[in-house]
């Protein structure tokens, strides 16, 4: 039972990978990519957790707290990944304009 959060991280990653591999629509592919990223967030937070500890906000006084470094890495990553997914969607829009479809297999056959 103590490996359950790590198993969840691995499960989310593999499920997202399945979605990316078997996708027939570039927009669906971008959302499955975000699912894969959320698996890494769960893994990072699960590593930093401490039993019986609270959040690292020390108001009004000091208490045992979980690891703040992994939380710092995760929270900037969540916001920045929105713009990266937007870049992928802009590429999907450009591909749709060039070839008329958002299906990756049809776009691959299209020669410009």
């Amino acid at each position: 039972m103590s490996y359950l959060p790590y198993a969840l991280a691995g499960w989310i990653f593999v499920v997202g990978l399945y979605g990316v591999v078997s996708s027939r629509n570039l927009i669906h592919l971008a959302v499955c990519l975000t699912v894969m990223q959320s698996g890494t967030y769960v893994l990072l937070l699960a590593i930093g957790y401490k039993n019986g500890a609270a959040a690292p906000i020390f108001r009004p006084s000091h208490h045992p707290a979980v690891d703040p470094v992994v939380q710092a890495l995760t929270l900037t990553d969540i916001v920045v990944s929105v713009t990266v997914v937007a870049l992928i969607l802009a590429l999907a829009l450009a591909a749709h304009k060039e070839s008329g479809s958002v299906n990756p297999e049809e776009i691959a056959d299209f020669s410009g």
């Binding site: 103590s2 916001v79 479809s101």
Partner: protein, 87 residues
């Protein structure tokens, strides 16, 4: 591990599967926002309020807006030009 953690872990696992198995992009955008809410609860249970706040604003404001505009554009052009809609 407290029971709340076990329950929310199982729900998040199911939510990830639901997002991937939903092939229509418009419905998938809605399911993605619900999955983001489940992740917010998971991050709170892991004692990470900053990360939960970040996922909340991103999953309800940033992702739906960006996804919906792109989906609407692909649909508009898809209906006007050829029939390339994915069932």
């Amino acid at each position: 591990m407290i029971p709340l953690q076990v329950v929310i872990i199982v729900l998040v696992g199911g939510g990830a599967l639901a997002v991937v198995l939903q092939r229509d992009p418009l419905r998938q955008a809605i399911v993605n926002s619900l999955y983001a809410l489940l992740l917010v609860v998971l991050f709170m249970v892991f004692q990470a309020p900053d990360v939960a706040l970040s996922m909340l604003v991103v999953g309800s404001i940033a992702y739906p807006l960006v996804l919906l505009v792109v989906i609407a554009r692909v649909r508009n052009r898809g209906e006007e030009a050829t029939d390339t809609a994915d069932p």
